[in-house]
Symmetry: C2
Amino acid sequence: MRELISRYRQLKVAANRDLGHHSIATTIAELALHARGLLASIDHGALASRVAGKQYFNYRGEHQSRPVNQDLFELDDGTFRHQTDRFISGMTSESPDTIVRIAYTLAYSVFVTNDVFGIGRKASATYFEILSGHMVARHFGISPRRKVRIPESGTDLPTDYVFDPGERSRKVHLPVKTSTRERAVQAWVHQLVLDRIFGTGMYRGVLVVASETKRNTRTDEVVEICVPRQLQMFQARVAEISRVYYLDPPAPYLALAETFPRVEVRSFGLAFSELDDLLRR
Amino acid sequence: MRELISRYRQLKVAANRDLGHHSIATTIAELALHARGLLASIDHGALASRVAGKQYFNYRGEHQSRPVNQDLFELDDGTFRHQTDRFISGMTSESPDTIVRIAYTLAYSVFVTNDVFGIGRKASATYFEILSGHMVARHFGISPRRKVRIPESGTDLPTDYVFDPGERSRKVHLPVKTSTRERAVQAWVHQLVLDRIFGTGMYRGVLVVASETKRNTRTDEVVEICVPRQLQMFQARVAEISRVYYLDPPAPYLALAETFPRVEVRSFGLAFSELDDLLRR
């Protein structure tokens, strides 16, 4: 476990230096493989699911892990090793389903290890930020920054990841969260602040979220906490987030892409066929 | 303790009916006196303070309570009983210092009892909302609502307390929090949403907060968690909150009233000499 924590630190340092560098993928893959090694001795079992059409299980060590989606998580270690190879080589020709499955397994292998060994949610949040930030950085071929310079003020505004392909291009604002709960509003507020500083349309907001499921500790059931009306209100009245990508998209949020005010919620696997177009439109 | 919880329920029901009714003051006072009775057998002791110029103590039962400001909290039960009498009679001629001292003691007598007996932060949050909402409602002579009707849509938007003195008057939007931490942004976003629905200036935003102190569980010291630059950014780029009133105002926030972008942070005791003017300007 001490090694896992020291691997986190190394990943964080390397990610701060150059998030899009291909070696980051190797460091992520090795960290995830190491976490899977720690998981090997831990029992897992199915959970009753209150989420229509989806089955979940979790790991039960000293602590119980968060729920894991049975259809998205690769349990077989041999197959997972192949997945990490594809992840390291860049996944440029993989299907959306394959991409999301690999990203989900890389993410949850580490999340549940953190949960079971009581490492804390902050480590999972940082790791997920690096994992998804790296995938987007690799796609664009540029590393993001974590601040923007405010014109006429000479000061910097700390932000989530921002990708800037150059002066004559739109930019991407990429908040990343393991789940949103009452924190979804932060993504919309940061988007509004960027809109107000740089003008609406300069930054495209792309929110990446792992899932909205949790285990109800009283009933041991998996529940999904969604506030679709709130997201619609943010989208209509605060700012426009162009895409919300989920590893495990909640059905009530996917439905927001079909209604008004529209929030374009999709599977994260689709991001890589849409991102370039988002910068153009 | 079961009685305390049943008193909460009664207060909540009565507050939903008519928050400004004078009988609410009696129900609050009786609840606080009951909580003080439960506290009588609980030890308290000083805490090391990292907050310049302020001393804190806390209660230590099954759980440890949050820190209590020594200069604002009335420890003597006889004096507290007199305070509750003044609270019930409306405090129309009390000084700002007296008002904040009475409000602080009413609030923290209940907060620490909840902490010590493990009743949970939600109960404290609801109680504080009712306590400060009642004081403002009594001052205006009108009870607030918790939703606004969205024009041209026929639907209601759930809000914090909103006070509407009538069609030809500005209105007050009153978010209430025991502490803000990363949740301060919510007050600014709700203000922005009201501005965008009804036009800027229709609703005056007045945020009421108890304090930003907490006990560092590792070192046992009292620390104050403040993000002044963030509040300035919200004020400059998201929406304008007209006043932020604290029971125990953090010095770094009070300083925001003297700088640019300005955030008017004050002691809650001053609210009652300013609120009418806020509606007019």
